[in-house]
Subunit: 398 residues, 2 copies
């Protein structure tokens, strides 16, 4: 009989929103059994930000106690597509795309998760679905009513908007649920948007005589401009693959009222220290900028070396805080999606588009401290654009 | 280029309720093409009555012009069950039951349909469904929306009644529709309760690049007591396998206002004669009993030899019309479902239950001229019950 460490317990309490059920989780952890943790992913957009990292860090804490992540590439289901957050049928995706996506995805998660075989297993749901006969799928469908499926909030939303729900989309939760049976999942750590589907997993597991998996939904924080949660399309994220400078700069840009929340969820800073900072901010004894600086350092250190973190901090201080930015830096109005090289040229920072391309290739163009690598790169968000050593403009996106 | 005979045209106009579309049917018949007529059946209740026979006679008329009936045993779909008219999930059915059912079904339909290979082909939908992969089913499901399926009237009824619709039931129409593609169906002749499913067939056929099948729904007449259409459970039917005497007796029992409708749908009596009878009845120049006698003869002759038909008529006249039935025949009140042998005993027709069983075994018990064959038989409807030669009671069902 082993009990979870206080470290795991602290992670659970800092990062989780809801546990279904707390009692079941407690029982399983106390039993000493090594849990199988289902981590199912749609690999078509292998792009992770700190929002996703919350789940990963919590899973990592489980791994450190010997529990195993079963990384499930939803290669079969991806080809149908969970309609989550989308209002249209998704285009069909090739197997090659899925393979590429899975590889990239694993590269990114391995920044956080342990990939030792003892605690990391890779599976694909085509293992069972590509062989599955129609009769078996119909049997699964016979366990679920239309009313059960249609009450999923995203379907209700579509109905209200008069938009179509195709039958293959409707039964997606059944497939995702059956995955839990095939993986003998004990636990899954998810965003609340996956709660419906994973509850279906619990339901089906019980119908197939398995103990239902525990579900932990994690905390969701607003993106770096406040408001909506991080997403690629909104450009309000801190990417897992962002450079240390980018991460640092982005954290420095968050609204002051997010500081404490970000500390709790994205840093490993001790809770006592976080409470201290919270009181300091309330009593105006700590400057928000200093608190953010401490936050940025703490977060960046989780992903980068001490040297890189230090460099990121120095870069920020030099460039922005010490106002190396000329007072008269022009503000350039840019349409979202406009090519960076075009803006370089028309803002006068460089003399021509070919000069712009040359500078980008030389790694001499940065936005908020992040080097622009692709000469075809487009603007997704505003910031400070630097070309060469001393030429700056402020970019405002409209 | 051949045109349909006037005989086929008359059958179509006498027996069909709706043609989708008339223009398409006309075009196909005029083209000289031999049509493939999908006749899909659920073989779990191989029991046919004259209501079913309407479809069969219409199909027979097509066969006589060289068109082919494709008799589709829905052996795969039967195991799911079309929820038609049922409010509960149906029990699973064994393959042996399906085989037995199919055999019995074909035996019954061969009383009407030609079974020459040129115009009769037997198929099973397990041919395609037992091999079909999950991926293919999902592809079919991606062509249909939930809203499309759920608007089926029987589903709407269930929703109103707060009853479950399981997902496998909901997609039944997709499977039935896909059958039309696999059979390359040109035409199907159905009861209106199958219209929704066969319209799905048209829809899917077009999505798969086929010309949509023509759908003919046939006329539905009230059962022999008027009101609801014939059904086994209501006991208001004339069975295809009923004896000539039973058929005769049952037709004689129909309400007068059904005479003309029954003539049109169930007999081959010429339309001019039917109009004559209609006028005769209206002008009280023809006695309804005589009209029914003519109807009964005409119908019985479609299924039995001239001798049998004559015997049936004589039996009816002797037993009922000439009032061999004693004037003081007791009326016995019987609960629907009560055992016939119990009623024989308690009505005093026989001295004991064992006497009742003996008489039934000897074929000496009749209800409305139909011999009771099963000693476990139960009452489904009222009539005249005879035991031995001269003992009668009137049975009234409550």
């Amino acid at each position: 009989m082993t009990s979870p460490s206080s470290k795991l317990n602290e992670k659970i309490s800092r990062l989780s929103e809801e546990i279904i059920t707390e009692k079941e989780l407690e029982g399983r952890l106390k039993s000493g059994q090594k849990l199988r943790i289902k981590y199912g992913v749609d690999v078509t957009s292998p792009f992770l930000h700190l929002g996703h990292a919350v789940n990963l860090w919590l899973m990592r804490a489980f791994q450190e106690e010997g529990h195993k992540i079963v990384f499930l590439v939803g290669d079969f289901t991806t080809r149908i597509g969970d309609p989550t957050g989308r209002n249209e049928k998704r285009p069909k995706i090739s197997e090659a795309d899925i393979k590429r996506g899975a590889k990239e995805f694993i590269k990114q998660v391995s920044r956080i998760l342990l990939t030792d075989k003892k605690v990391f297993e890779i599976r694909k749901n085509s293992e069972w679905y590509s062989k599955m006969k129609t009769e078996k799928l119909l049997e699964l469908m016979s366990l679920v009513t239309n009313a059960q499926l249609i009450k999923r909030d995203m379907f209700q939303k579509r109905i209200k908007e008069g938009k179509d729900i195709f039958e293959n989309e409707l039964i997606y939760p059944i497939l995702q649920g059956y995955d839990s049976i095939m993986l003998e999942s004990d636990l899954t750590v998810i965003g609340s948007d996956q709660l419906f589907n994973e509850m279906m997993g619990r339901d089906l597991q019980q119908k197939f005589g398995q103990s239902p998996q525990v579900i932990i939904t994690t905390k969701i924080t607003p993106g770096i401009r406040g408001g909506e949660k991080q997403s690629k399309s909104l450009g309000n994220y801190i990417g897992l693959l962002d450079s240390a400078r980018e991460k640092f700069g982005k954290i420095m840009s968050i609204p002051d009222d997010l500081i404490i929340q970000y500390f709790e969820v994205y840093s490993d800073t001790a809770l006592v220290r976080i409470r201290e900072i919270e009181r300091g901010l309330q009593g105006k004894k700590i400057n928000p900028k200093d608190a953010k600086m401490e936050l940025a350092e703490a977060v960046v250190l989780k992903y980068h070396s001490a040297d890189e973190s230090k460099d990121a901090k120095n870069f920020f201080v030099e460039t922005f805080q010490k106002k190396n930015l000329p007072q008269d830096a022009t503000t350039v109005i840019v349409k979202k999606g406009e090519m960076i090289k075009d803006v370089l040229a028309r803002s006068g920072l460089v003399s021509s588009k070919s000069e712009a391309s040359r500078l980008i290739k030389a790694g001499a163009v940065e936005i908020d401290g992040a080097i622009v690598k692709d000469i075809g790169a487009k603007f997704e968000r505003g910031g400070i654009m630097r070309a060469g050593k001393k030429r700056f403009v402020k970019i405002k996106i409209v």
